[in-house]
Symmetry: C2
């Protein structure tokens, strides 16, 4: 039947002739451990006997899934925007109604069902700009520099996409922290950009180290063209909060080395540790004066998914671009227009995050109460996690200063490493898989985020309820002791 | 200050060193005409005098923005899902509540604020599968073959991404109709795939022509590796509905030539002309028997943005994949997991579209009434558009059988073509820009979609209200007559 001798039943699209850059993508947060966790849940629900009664997932920063409650005001406004008939319902507070009216007035045909401008709804961008000005102590922000996005993920990938060019030794390199949030490595693989690793300093609470940045950059320059430096602050998976001094140093480094800065600040409200404070790259940059603020190119990212709201499913986010070349900006505008627009409910939610109830408005007290409750429980759990893990011999854990994760180092006995290697597994994957099978606890192995050779870690979120978190931590403790004995 | 002699103020990222494939992207639907239309609106609102009192936008398939009303039931359920307190509100119908409960039960922590599975919420995928089975007269559909997406755009780009490989003469080519929806050319440019044009037959109401497909393929094979064939049915920008026979022919062609089929069926409910009917590629494929249905690889796409619901802002959609290689499927699953998940409100909406109120449920009558009203007004406007445009000497318009667009050919006098060329403009861009400046009507030039050399068109949506559409059509008529005189 076929003229060229190929069997007509062979697929057109196969693993061998598909996009090779897609094949190179790795993504651990939803990898084999999570697949197995879902299977175990199914097996449990079908009545299969396991050494545990439930699967506890601490693998992903998905707050509502772990029981965190949404902010009432936000959801009221979203309901009003979805079904504007409710504007006549007297049980909704007036401030929620006026927010909803303002959002709807900015939508074509007063409907969230219209495409918005591709850069995002103008009034939302204005509110974002005012929020940034307040956050940064008055440093001005131009709404034209704000692009609303489909979660922070979208903005990050879009900016990386703009940056990539060249071939071979001139191919764009992008510096990312190790450990990293695997969106970065995945996006770079897909774009066939060169991933340039710089290691965070575990001994100094995962801080950034100038000499390590320099080493990484100098080495990369031998084989690619490093053009951008990504920073996640507060950190995922490492939970650190960078000091103002460190951010200044990084900005100076970027200016000196001519690197485009990308600041992933999705955890900007998640700061727990005493003495720690969130400083945005934008603020620090502008406080360093025009010598820096006139030249350093910066894109920073925020999201509705984290902080106290944890609204991941709405896929809201924004990026702010500073000092972007005007012609490149025009290209960015064109690029985002191909996908039409970010989801409008996510844009509406972003608007509420940057423009929450104000003192004197009817919803203010409740909003503050809900927000504080969520953040203080997170702070409590951050502390608890650090404390309990550090009581375990063979586990060593930096303070969880911010974000939603602990990334302790774990010592794995040689015998276990060997068994893992024989199975073709990373030792920490082997460890986490065993932990899951024996205890029902789902964590992500450190190898999914990157770590110094010969060290092992896992990432756990602090999102389970305090009760479950206690169970989880104790089970991890027991497991680690048993595991260590078994393989010693 | 700089060691290498480059001025320290030169940007890191410039138009000369940015991603070259992004630069190649073109996107007309939101291009210069639309920019100018927005400016004109601003100028009007600031009191500037214009030869018109309002800008009428017929450039984009954005139904709600043009006044189409959302389906009440859909918005009720979305409000309930956003703010579940409303489940206690007796003014909401019971069927809306039970839908909302079902959706929420499928969300982590019963909240739309949780990330869903990356492939989409399982119960929604099940509902999609059942919808497809009903739509296709019982042809089976496996929920595992359904991937929920961020609008159809996302699914289309994702599938194209998988398909691209090779360099130079072995680079993947993708066949797209001309005229096309510019997402396709934009995505192919960005992926550096080869765009392989096949022309629709304007004389035969924009149908697909087998000999033209063959010509296009044979020519492309000389310089690239054509691997996929994209079809938009009902058509954008051309408004045709392909016959069942034509679809069969195309499937046979794809099977014979070993092409991966992509069927963009976002307008599947938008069929107006007598004797026309929507046939999904999936159904036709399976009706052709296992000789075809066992081998032809097909991805088809749907969206919440079009049809009778027109919910563009929610960015809901799905794709169904048929006969995809298992290893490639695993790669697809990995790829979509990097972006975490499609927006959950969009998934919820997609669920409602595929599982609307049923006979006997309290919301059924109202739903049917609203849906029929919207579709019959669209049908009326489709007819009106064709009729009026065909009264204009120099404009020739195929019947608007489906979708939401008319794509008439317009004759442009030589003198106007010359003036446009002197300005470095396409003649139909020149025409549409002039139309906009003189009448406030915003259309998109045919050159933004592609057309046979030497022919000119514009695309207009049929979405303005009947009253406005009449004004618009009459203004276009007057303008065309004046323009033709002026340049003759
Ligand atoms: C550091 C970091 N950046 C970006 C994201 C992406 O979040 P989203 O796309 O939901 O906004 C995440 C999500 O966990 C994250 O941890
Ligand atoms: C043919 C076609 N495909 C896909 C899309 C994308 O729609 P969305 O991403 O809003 O689902 C459109 C939008 O106009 C379209 O006309």
């Amino acid at each position: 039947m076929s003229e060229n001798g190929v069997s007509p039943r062979a697929k057109v699209l196969t693993i061998d002739n598909m996009n090779p850059t897609v094949k190179k993508v790795e993504y651990a947060v939803r990898g084999p451990i999570v697949q197995r966790a879902l299977e175990l849940e199914r097996e449990l629900s079908e009545g299969m006997k396991k050494p545990f009664v439930e699967v506890i997932k601490a693998n992903i920063g998905d707050a509502h899934a772990m029981g965190q409650q949404p902010i009432t005001f936000f959801r009221q406004v979203l309901a009003l925007c979805s079904y504007p008939e409710l504007l006549n319902d007297s049980s909704f507070p007036e401030d929620a109604k006026s927010r909803a009216r303002r959002i709807l007035q900015s939508c074509g045909g007063n409907s969230m069902g219209s495409y918005s401008a591709s850069q995002g709804i103008e009034s939302v961008r204005q509110d974002v700009a005012r929020y940034i000005e307040r956050r940064d102590g008055g440093v001005p922000c131009d709404p034209d520099n704000i692009f609303l996005t489909t979660g922070a993920s979208d903005g990050i990938v879009t900016m990386l996409k703009l940056l990539v060019c060249g071939e071979g030794e001139t191919r764009t390199g992008v510096m990312i922290s190790i450990p990293q949030y695997p969106l970065y490595s995945a996006a770079l693989a897909e774009l066939a950009a060169v991933q340039v690793n710089y290691y965070l300093n575990e001994e100094k609470c995962w801080s950034m180290d100038l000499s390590e940045l320099q080493r990484s950059l100098d080495e990369a320059r031998r084989h690619c063209n490093p053009r951008a430096l990504c920073v996640i602050n507060p950190g995922n998976p490492t939970g650190q909060v960078q000091s103002r001094q460190c951010i200044e140093d990084v900005i100076r480094f970027a200016a000196k080395e001519r690197l485009f800065l990308m600041a992933d600040e999705v955890y900007q409200d998640n700061v727990y540790a005493e003495g720690c404070e969130f400083h945005s790259f934008k603020k620090v940059l502008f406080n360093m004066g025009p010598e820096y603020s006139d030249i350093v190119e910066l894109a920073s990212f925020h999201s509705t998914s984290k902080c106290y709201m944890g609204e991941c499913g709405f896929r809201g986010g924004y990026m702010e671009i500073i000092n972007l070349d005007e012609e490149v900006r025009a290209q960015l505008t064109k690029l985002v227009s191909v996908r039409l627009c970010p989801p409008v409910p996510g844009q509406a939610l972003m608007d509420l995050v940057v423009n929450p109830p104000q003192i004197g408005e009817p919803s203010y007290d409740k909003f503050i109460k809900e927000r504080s409750a969520t953040l203080s429980v997170l702070a409590e759990k951050a502390k608890l996690t650090e404390q309990v893990l550090n009581t375990v011999k063979g586990i060593s854990c930096n303070p969880v200063q911010g974000a939603m994760y602990s990334f302790p180092s774990i010592s794995i006995p040689e015998k276990a490493i060997k068994e893992a290697t024989d199975k073709g597994q990373q030792a920490d994957m082997f460890y986490c898989m065993k932990l899951l099978e024996e205890t029902g606890i789902c964590l992500v192995p450190g190898s999914g985020f990157g770590q110094r050779d010969g060290t092992y870690h896992f990432r756990m979120t602090i999102l389970p309820s305090t009760d479950k978190l206690k169970i989880l931590l104790n089970k991890v403790k027991e497991f680690h002791q048993k595991f260590t004995e078994e393989y010693s």
